[in-house]
C-alpha cells in the first residue's frame, strides 16, 4: 500500500514548511473570527427584530434557512460576478451567511426562554422596553447565544477549508498541497498536518467559548442539558 518512497509522515517536511503552516493557521483563525464576528453583528439585531415584531419572524427564519442550504462552494461561485472570484469578501460572505441560521435561531430561542416573570418584574421596576432588552432579556438569552456561537465557530472552522478551492482557505491550502503533490506517490504529510490542526483549533475554540461563557454567564453551568441546548451539538460542516 505504501510502497512508494514517501514516508507516511515526514517531520522534515513540517520543519521545512513551518512558516507556511503557521501562516495558513493564522489565516484560518482570521477568516473564522471575521465570519463569526460579522455573523453575530447581523444575527443578534435580526433575532431581536424577529422576536419583537412577530410578522418579521417568518421572513427572517426563511431567509436564513435558504442561505444555510446553499452550498458554500456554490455560493462562492454565485457571488463571484458581484464581489469578484477569489476574493476575501466572497469567502467571508459565504461563511457569514452560513452562521446566520445558527445564530439567529439560538438567539431567538434564548429570547423566548426568558420567563414572563422576569420581563414583568423589569417592567414593574420602571424599565423601558429598550432597557429591559439590554438589561434583562439579552443577558438571560446569553446561554443560548453562547450555544449558537460554539456551533457556528466549530462549523466555520470546518468550512474555511473549502475556500482553499478559491485560493484562500487557511489550513485548506494544506489539503490542496497534499493532493497536488501526490503525483510521486501519496503525500499524506500536509493533509494530516492540516487535519490535526483543524480539529485541534476547533477543540480549543470550543473550550475557550465554554470558559468565556462561564465568565460572562456565571449563573449558567456551560454544558448543562437544556431544551435548546441540543442546538449546541449541532455542528454540521457542509461545504
Amino acid at each position: 500500500m505504501l510502497a512508494t518512497g514517501r514516508p507516511f509522515f515526514s517531520w522534515s517536511w513540517v520543519q521545512q514548511n513551518w512558516g507556511q503552516i503557521v501562516a495558513d493557521l493564522d489565516q484560518h483563525i482570521e477568516l473564522t473570527l471575521i465570519a463569526v464576528g460579522i455573523g453575530l453583528v447581523i444575527s443578534v439585531p435580526l433575532a431581536v427584530v424577529a422576536w419583537r415584531y412577530r410578522r418579521w419572524r417568518s421572513p427572517v427564519t426563511t431567509a436564513t434557512s435558504v442561505l444555510y442550504v446553499i452550498p458554500s462552494l456554490a455560493l462562492f461561485v454565485i457571488l463571484g460576478p458581484v464581489t469578484g472570484y477569489f476574493t476575501i469578501t466572497t469567502a467571508e460572505i459565504a461563511l457569514v451567511s452560513y452562521t446566520l441560521l445558527i445564530l439567529v435561531r439560538n438567539t431567538l430561542a434564548g429570547l423566548e426562554s426568558v420567563p414572563d416573570d422576569a420581563r414583568e418584574a423589569a417592567r414593574a421596576m420602571g424599565y423601558t422596553p429598550g432597557r429591559s432588552l439590554v438589561r434583562v432579556e439579552l443577558p438571560l438569552a446569553l446561554p443560548y447565544l453562547f450555544a449558537g456561537i460554539r456551533v457556528a465557530t466549530v462549523t466555520v472552522i470546518g468550512l474555511v477549508s473549502v475556500s482553499a478551492l478559491i485560493g484562500l482557505g487557511g489550513l485548506g491550502q494544506l489539503f490542496v498541497t497534499g493532493l497536488q503533490g501526490s503525483d510521486d506517490g501519496p503525500f499524506y504529510t500536509p493533509i494530516l498536518v492540516g487535519l490535526v490542526l483543524s480539529v485541534v483549533l476547533a477543540a480549543i475554540a470550543d473550550l475557550l467559548l465554554v470558559l468565556a461563557e462561564r465568565l460572562v454567564v456565571p449563573w449558567s453551568r456551560a454544558g448543562s442539558p437544556g431544551p435548546t441546548r441540543g442546538g449546541r451539538v449541532r455542528t454540521g460542516a457542509a461545504a
Partner: protein, 239 residues
Amino acid sequence: MHFLNAVFHWFTTASNWEGANGIPELLWQTAKLSIAVVASATIIGGGLGALAGHTGRGSIAAVNAANAARAIPTLALLTLLAIVPSISIRYGGFLAAYLALVVLAIPPILTNTYVGMREVDADVREAASAMGMTGWQVFKRAELPLALPFIGAGIRTSAIEVVATSTLAAYVSYSDLGTYVLSGLASQDNVEAFSGSILVALLAGLVAVVLGRVQRALTPAPLRAGGGAGTSARVRAAV
C-alpha cells in the same frame, strides 16, 4: 446582464444535456452518491444512536465521538482518501467520496436519534414495560415512533449537508454536479461554474423542502400543532 444571458444560454445549450458530462448524468451521479451516503449513515448513525438511547449505555462516548467527527473538515478526508492508492482508484473516485461523506453524515443522525430516544417520557417507557412489552417491543412500539420526528430532522440535516458537500467530490475525480463548478473555476469558465452552482443549490433546496415535508408527515398529528409548538421547536433545535 451579459453574464446572465450567457448562463441562460448555457442552460439552453443541447450539448449540456447530453452524454457523460451532461446535466442528467451528473445530476444522477450526485443523487447516487448522496443516497448511498445518507442510507449508510442512517443505518450506522441511527443504529448507534438508538442503541445508546435505548440502553443509556455508552451514550457519552457515542455523542462525544459524533461531535468530534464533526470537527473533521470533509475536504481533509476527501483529499486524504483520494491519495490512498487502494482507495483512490476504486469506482472512479466513488469510494473515496462515499467514505468521506459518510463520516460527515453520521453525526447529525446519531445525535438526533439519541436525543429523540432520550426525550421519550420515562412514564411512557415504564408504562410500556408494565404492559409486559419486552425491551425490543418497547423500542419498536414506543421509543422509535416517538423519536421519529427527531430522527427525521437528523436525516434531513445530513442529506442537505451531503448534497452540498458532494460538490467537493469532483475535486478528487468523482464526476458529479461539482464537476461543473470546479472545472469551471479551474478553466475560468465562470458561466459553467455559476450554472453548476445554481444546479447544486437548487438540488440542496429541493432536498430540504421534500425532506421537511416527510419529517412533518412523520410527526404524529397531536405533536404537530398546538401542544406541538414546543415539540417542533425542540425537534428543530436538536437538529
